[in-house]
């Protein structure tokens, strides 16, 4: 469901993201947001997400490097004759 609010824009163009919306999107002080101006004259405001924030366990099912693997991979980079 789309929620709507109306606000006055301040003299230097500031608007306030309502507290309940900030809480919903976990937008905290100093977080960055992205503003997107659309062709249909709407402005989209999104919380800027760091690519490392995506918690999808990309490497699920793979175990961390073992000592043996670290030795093997070094060898494959610069093999000893």
């Amino acid at each position: 469901m789309t929620e709507k609010k109306t606000q006055k824009v301040s003299s230097n163009g500031r608007i306030i993201i309502p507290k309940e919306w900030r809480d919903k999107l976990a937008i905290e002080d100093t977080n960055e947001i992205e503003l997107e101006l659309k062709d249909d004259k709407t402005i989209l405001i999104k919380k800027k997400t760091h690519p490392l924030e995506i918690e999808d366990n990309l490497f699920e099912g793979v175990s961390p490097f073992t000592e043996e693997e670290l030795k093997e991979v070094k060898k494959s980079l610069f093999p000893n004759k």
């Binding site: 760091h50 366990n57 990309l58 490497f59 961390p64 070094k74 494959s76 980079l77």
Partner: protein
């Protein structure tokens, strides 16, 4: 000034591993990266090492996605092995293990002495500030 650190292939792996299972020092690092409090330098040699591992496990698509994410992160700098590193290597009198020397010289190139790794050579041979989880 934002802290700059160099990371190795193990750290890169942990960035995309189950957060609850990664060492706490790397949990803290990941948080700092997300919050833009640190600049992470990734030597291409470390990326090659991770590719080697992921190819062995058949996770090449996951690797490609991870690479896209590093490339699109403003505070993750992928650093090529290049002539500048070779020139820094000229200051080292002895021949060291090339893998370690290239990564250590990547630190010098970016004027940082902080490296996240478990390899003690970085501390003992190259006098870097080793942030290890072992």
């Amino acid at each position: 000034m934002t802290e700059k650190v160099v990371i190795d292939a193990q750290v890169l792996f942990y960035f995309h591993y189950d957060y609850q299972k990664i060492p706490s020092i790397l949990q803290q690092l990941k948080k700092k990266v997300i919050n833009g409090e640190v600049i992470v330098i990734v030597p291409t040699i470390a990326i090659a090492e991770l590719l080697w591992k992921m190819r062995k496990t058949g996770k090449i698509n996951a690797f490609k996605e991870a690479l896209n994410r590093w490339e699109s992160s403003e505070n993750i700098i992928i650093d090529d092995f290049n002539l500048e590193i070779i020139k820094l290597m000229l200051n080292n009198a002895k021949s060291h293990e090339l893998h370690d020397e290239i990564i250590a010289m990547t630190c010098k190139k970016h004027t940082t002495d902080i490296i996240y790794s478990t390899d003690r050579n970085f501390k003992e041979v190259f006098k870097l500030q080793l942030r290890s989880w072992l």
